[in-house]
């Protein structure tokens, strides 16, 4: 019985957040949302989800913190090095044939993925002709992404990932150490735009050659996954490229037939060339 009450409260909370603040978590994978709402409830010392709902409806200042619970910000520079190696080997040669390029990192969180791509593109001589778009719904994450500052203790992992991704330069060329922080070179984001965009409710905003969206779709139910994949399909040029997370696929989506599998292992897809 109490389970049922809990589920009612959860869906009312998400409805309240949507109607009051236009952040739409109603189509997220609920098992994980439930966990994170529970953690938020503990953090705000609210005895019930209903009381958390009361709080967030009447006190907008709790929203940023609540958003930080509801959106998952976990990434590394060159996370899953094999993915970047596959990009280098299978996708970059195609991209080199375009005079100008646009890359969309959808759900860019705090920017690690975008900086990884910027470094990769610089190593491959493509950076000058590329615009990078990093989008996310979390304003705090976007701000951190734009700052490009990461804790120095993450650098050994970043460096190892970069090496395993087939890095052709030294990662230390791209940041300066400063009071326990690694500040990434401003030139890396000279051609990057970080902006607010929701895969749940916003539309296509550019025509791009590559979409990289990793470990974002896992937080969506199948309906919202389809919506996001529809945006990617509409954004991509003919024969454009799509990269997903290691355990994500197009298998359960309505777009499985719209793409060719370029690397099954690394979840790289190419949009079909047809009409």
């Amino acid at each position: 019985m109490s389970e049922l009450t809990h589920d009612i409260e959860l869906s009312l909370l998400l409805e309240a957040i949507f109607r009051r603040y236009h952040y739409d978590f109603r189509g997220y994978s609920m098992a994980s949302v439930k966990r994170r709402v529970h953690q938020a409830k503990e953090h705000f010392r609210c005895p019930t989800i209903s009381s958390l709902q009361d709080r967030v409806l009447h006190d907008p200042s709790v929203l940023p913190k609540l958003l930080s619970y509801l959106t998952v910000q976990v990434s590394d520079l060159f996370r899953d090095p094999a993915y970047f190696r596959a990009l280098r080997e299978l996708v970059i040669p195609h991209l080199k044939t375009y005079p100008s390029l646009k890359v969309w990192v959808a759900g860019c969180s705090t920017g690690e993925e975008l900086y990884s791509l910027a470094i990769l593109f610089r190593e491959e001589g493509l950076e000058e002709r590329t615009m990078f778009y990093g989008t996310d719904i979390n304003p705090d994450a976007l701000q951190q992404a734009d700052a490009g500052v990461y804790s120095l203790n993450r650098i050994p992992q970043f460096t190892e990932n970069h090496r395993r991704a087939g890095g052709k330069s030294s990662l230390s060329d791209y940041y300066t150490a400063n009071y326990g922080a690694a500040v990434f070179d401003k030139s890396l984001r000279q051609r990057a735009v970080f902006s607010d965009h929701s895969l749940v409710s916003d539309e296509v905003f550019a025509e791009v050659q590559l979409v990289s969206c990793r470990n974002v779709l896992i937080y969506f139910d199948l309906e919202i996954q389809n919506r996001a994949l529809g945006l990617f399909q509409d954004s991509l040029v003919r024969k454009g490229f799509l990269g997903l997370g290691a355990k994500e696929s197009l298998r359960y989506s309505q777009y499985a037939e719209s793409f060719v599998e370029l690397s099954r292992e690394e979840r790289l897809y190419q949009k079909r060339g047809g009409a």
């Binding site: 389970e3 994978s29 609920m30 098992a31 994980s32 439930k34 966990r35 994170r36 998952v72 976990v74 470990n215 779709l217 896992i218 937080y219 139910d221 199948l222 996954q225 997370g245 290691a246 355990k247 994500e248 696929s249 298998r251 359960y252």
Partner: protein, 201 residues
Amino acid sequence: MISSRSTSLPATKNARAAAIAIGVSSGAVRALSEILPLLPRHFPLPVLIVVHLPPGEKSALVDCFEGKCQIAIREAEDKDPIVDGTIYFAPPDYHLLVEADRRLSLSSEEPVLFSRPSIDVLFESAADVYGAALIGIILTGASNDGAGGLKAIVAAGGTALVQRPDLAQASEMPQAALDACPNALVLTLPQIANYLQQTVA
């Protein structure tokens, strides 16, 4: 190796069981080798398993058990529908969860008790969906992970099995589970295998 003792256990109360969730850490391969190969062909339940694994490496679990088991084995992928008679391993570096529509979902939220995948995360979400129809099993491991999850399974009316700590390669995890769920059935590995066979017989 496998003893054929047929201890009479109160197994039949689980005629309505709909899923099995297993959590295991150090000593996992040896412990699972005494259970998974004994699940018969046409085993009518899904088996969801979290094994603590080091991140950043491919898991060898599917390869390791594929030839030895009579039912299907796979590493879980996002939104896989949960199919009866299939063993699902959580992939390294992701939490594994059960959705209300009986699909699996993955998450790269922070590790819980230093673990991703976390046994607690799987057990709590599975308890939420399967309620009394879930059998949760904690095997060998040097961690406290799984104790909270097993408690959630019991609270939802499900069945808790714990490997006998004194016979486990690492006793800490089953002991912690037992401390959290004093009424759990405490069994040897062959008894657990036997219990699962009887449950669905």
